[in-house]
Amino acid sequence: MKNTEMNMLEIKNLHARVDGREILKGIDLSVKAGEVHAIMGPNGSGKSTLAAVLSGRDGYEVTEGTVEYMGKNLLDLAADTRAREGVFLAFQYPVELPGVNNLYFLRAAVNAGRRHRGEPELDAGQFLKAVRKTLKLLDLREDLLNRAVNVGFSGGEKKRNEIFQMALLEPKLAILDETDSGLDIDALRQVSEGVNKLRTPDRAFVLITHYQRLLDYIVPDVVHVLAGGRIVRSGDKSLALELEKTGYASVNAA
């Protein structure tokens, strides 16, 4: 069921600083439930900063503008509250947590969200059931589960673990920060298939990527080009193909 009336995410004139340096210089972006938006742009254009600001990472100072998410002021919410409200960030570099069992970690995360929504927590058995279902959906190997979070995982495994977490946490807004980076073609396909299976009418995706090849697998509704801290162009998926031919230089000039 597509909600065409209201934007899930509404960013207006967003300015943000890191270490006193302005990186985002007035971003405007509207995302509706069910949509997939790709944000492309050259290195240093502010793509990852946008992901960090939206997910509430420390060290990023919003100096101007507003971000509304599901009708709430997103910038007022602590990072963990944002997560529990359904904002998920797939990390460009998933972090290792030595000694922390992957399953245990995930159950803690899932139950934190359930408590927040006033739902009963899942016990170990119920959680394992949900996990098995998800593994099947994403065609993942079970041995990933009982290892420490991301420790000793290959690059591909780390990214698939992110998608797996996303599937279990069932976010409303999923932000994928350069999920394609460092993946070979098979891993890329696998991760993309996972994302495609998780596309639903009430979930929105923001894909941050440097290359268009990810968009061969996950077809976006809208493509935005970020340059110099602003969205300089928006269009449909053909924009990504055009960029691949002409490069970002042409966009900057435009």
Binding site: D80, E96, L97, G99, A108
Partner: protein, 480 residues
């Protein structure tokens, strides 16, 4: 911010002043000289040989200097300012749980302390809630059938004087160190365990004893003897924040494992650490040592140290028997102004002796955490092997971690490995957890427990669960 365990304990500590006067105690006069030692020995109705032994220790103690080789910063202690004996108090502080500070009860709940134990720990009259005497009797009956002796030290002196006389001071000599000598002179009571030949002790010793242990005083003495081919697992301490009026604690624990015997000794220590400014708090100077006296014996120490203002503690193994094994698994956590100087000594004497050391130090606030360890391989210990891993975790930028390993090898065939790491909980790790919906406190607890996992898994199951919660409660409010 929720109240931390420290604050709760601090709040509880205030209460003691309201109750101190109405307790009739049978105390020794303030100060310490030979008459104090005689007073204690007489109070306990001890035989002449034990009094002589105490006096010998006392005289030795007088000549010993206070150890100054640690990294600990401690104000000089006036040993003449304390009372060295006070009969166990029998008057309960409260008549029901309703009178106890609710914050303290909340902490017990967080730690998952069973209801009947909460009452006892908080100082409520327990008879109505939990009949510890009858439980103790049931336990003792079962143990007695197998010939296991498990009693207070005082009782052992009366009932099993030969065993006590043979083994007391045989692992920790009277002149071993300042605090051990002091303990030997003035110890009040403690526990005694004897496991006969070939017996596998059918239960973890001392789970129910946690309550009784609360009253065993500041100079505790423990002696555990595992006869040939026997096996015992002993649990000491308690995860609940424990109130105590004595600032100075100096316990001695001696373990003797004879041929083919195994002793597993697990400790969770959570004494009052002082307030967030570093005022008050227990000074814990403990001497713990075990000897694998026979071939193929094994002694394993596991400790989780989160309490006390100062911890000075080196549970050690003397590997005398051939093929004997020593293990030391430790988690030491210091927060606020706590200081810990802890580690182990592994003394390889017999052939093919093996030792393993895994130490996990966690420092937060302005806590200072030192691992100090000695691995010594004597000339006859052919084929000796040691593996040591010391990992330190820093939380925040005002705490400290220090590793001081001593390695002394006098046999060419020995193999000694030492590995050490120091890491800081990274912002990345915290943010990763928080982005998945965990609160900063939960995230920290998860990361710290992951770090300490290798040690926690050595604890008996029930203890391990409590210890995990304890680490979390001890660090509450350290971030965000």
């Amino acid at each position: 911010m929720s109240a931390t365990a420290r604050e709760v304990v601090a709040a509880a500590d205030v209460y003691k002043y309201g109750f101190v006067t109405d307790i009739e105690s049978d105390s020794a006069p303030i100060g310490l000289d030979e008459s104090t030692v005689r007073f204690i020995s007489a109070k306990k109705g001890e035989p002449e040989w034990l009094l002589e032994w105490r006096l010998e220790c006392f005289r030795a103690w007088l000549k010993m200097p206070t150890p100054d080789w640690t990294k600990l910063k401690i104000e000089p202690i006036d040993y003449q300012a304390s009372t060295y004996y006070s009969a166990p108090k029998t008057t309960p502080k409260y008549q029901s749980l309703d009178e106890v500070d609710p914050e303290l009860l909340k902490t017990y709940e967080k730690l998952g302390i069973p209801l009947h134990e909460r009452a006892a720990l908080a100082g409520v009259a327990v008879d109505a809630v939990f009949d510890s005497v009858s439980v103790a009797t049931t336990f003792k009956g079962e143990l007695a059938k197998m010939g296991v002796i498990f009693c207070s030290f005082g009782e052992a002196v009366r009932e099993h004087p030969d065993l006590v006389r043979e083994y007391l001071g045989s692992v920790v000599p009277t002149t071993d160190n300042f605090f051990a000598a002091l303990n030997s002179a003035v110890f009040s009571d403690g526990s005694f365990v004897y496991i006969p030949k070939g017996v596998r002790c059918p239960m973890e010793l001392s789970t129910y004893f946690r309550i009784n242990a609360a009253n065993s005083g500041q100079f505790e003495r423990t002696l555990i003897i595992a006869d040939e081919g026997s096996h015992v697992s002993y649990l000491e301490g308690c995860t609940a924040p424990m109130r105590d009026e004595n600032q100075l604690h100096a316990a001695v624990v001696e373990l003797v494992a004879l041929k083919d015997a195994t002793i597993k000794y697990s400790t969770v220590q959570n004494w009052y650490p002082g307030d967030a400014e570093g005022k008050g708090g227990i000074y814990n100077f403990v001497t713990k040592r075990g000897e694998c006296r026979g071939d193929n014996a094994k002694i394993s120490w596991t400790q989780v140290e989160t309490g006390s203002a100062v911890t000075w503690k080196y549970p050690s193994c003397v590997l005398t028997g051939d093929n004997s094994v020593g293990e030391f698994f430790s988690v030491a956590l210091t927060n606020h102004y706590q200081q810990a100087d802890t580690g182990t000594k592994m003394i390889h004497i017999g052939k093919n002796t093996k030792s393993t050391i895994i130490s996990k130090g966690i420092s937060a606030g302005r806590g200072q955490n030192t691992y100090r360890g000695l691995v010594k391989v004597l000339p006859k210990a052919a084929g000796a092997r040691n593996t040591t891993r010391c990992d330190s975790l820093l939380i925040g930028d005002r705490c400290g971690a220090h590793t001081v390993p001593y390695i002394d090898v006098y046999n060419r065939s020995a193999r000694v490995e030492h590995e050490a790491t120091t890491s800081k909980i990274s912002e990345d790790q915290m943010f990763y957890c928080v982005q998945r919906g965990l609160s900063p406190d939960d995230a920290l607890s998860l990361i710290v427990n992951g770090f300490a996992k290798e040690v926690l898994k050595e604890l008996p199951m029930e203890f391990a669960v409590e210890a995990q919660k304890l680490l979390a409660v001890s660090l509450e409010g350290s971030v965000g």
